[in-house]
Amino acid sequence: MTLDGLDGAPWHNNLNLQLGQSSVRNLFQVEVFPKIVGISNALVEVEISTKEYGKASIEAILLDFYCGRAPIGRGKRFDVLTSLSTNEERNQDWQIFLDQEVENDRIHRSIKSFPELINTNIGFLKGEIYATPYHGAPIDRETLPLLQSLIEINKFGFISTGGQPAVCEYYYKSPLLESQVDFSNQVIAKSFTEYPDGYYFADEQNGHIEGFLQRDMAMDLIRFVSQRKDVNIHVHDFKTSSVLYTNTPHDFYHSRTKISKSLCDFDSTPWKIFVWY
């Protein structure tokens, strides 16, 4: 079977999808772990992962249910409608998605100035605009607590395009509590595959924001931030990508996780670190 967009693509253990709500309900019957990460009026953004490392591919599973087109979106999402929903539901979902894509494209092509770009980004944060070219779906759930601050920051002239909240999570997951486990969380689901008897998990992350600022304000921001002891900043020229200023150590990492089979092993288990680039 030839599949537009996915055909010939690398095979992954997880994918981001946007599905009609009825399709998501049906997705729970498929041999994958779905995690709902965003909901709009018509579409649900879902991360799905296979249940065992290296033993299946989501694409192969979706191919079995596939009917229709599967274009790769401009953002970081794949957009697939499964054949599990009825033709009528699928066509309605698909048409709504296409209408949103056309409208998003029209909005972004009409932008002529920096203030218009800011207003569009604020519209996206408020949910008035479905997606942006840099984020092909509504905002992530973790962004909600930051929303008011982000809108104010954008009004000030900083176009925010990404980041993460500063949070730390530590927990133990037991298979004895399996019925209470949220298997829609793909991290938990994957971990139970590797640690069927339960596991200890830690996830620590720094706060991060990335975005754009007009050049004439950047030096003031650098001066301001250089007096702060709680944050690092990295500034680059958009046009040339050259680094204009940084006090961020080369080996800086924004997140780290560790997982161990027992509490005895926890301290000696090495952290897995994550960097942005």
Binding site: H135, Q205, N206, G207, H208, I209, L221, D230
Partner: protein, 62 residues
């Protein structure tokens, strides 16, 4: 797109906007900012930017 270590995709903004040359032209006059808190689970870069935006008197005196 840039693949980071956890397998997720960090968005390459110039690539994301490549179909929108007017937006690229607007951003050509901008700098890209990445700001991080230094301690896991503490602080927020958003609050730093809010302090900066409200502290415009700092700009006039600094």
């Amino acid at each position: 797109m840039v693949l980071v270590e956890d397998g997720t995709m960090a968005v390459d903004i110039p690539d994301a906007y490549k179909d929108y040359p007017r937006i690229i032209k607007i951003l050509d006059d901008c700098v890209g900012i990445n700001m991080y808190t230094k301690t896991f689970g503490e602080g927020s870069p958003e609050s730093v930017l809010l302090d900066f935006s409200k502290g415009r008197s700092y700009l006039s005196t600094g």
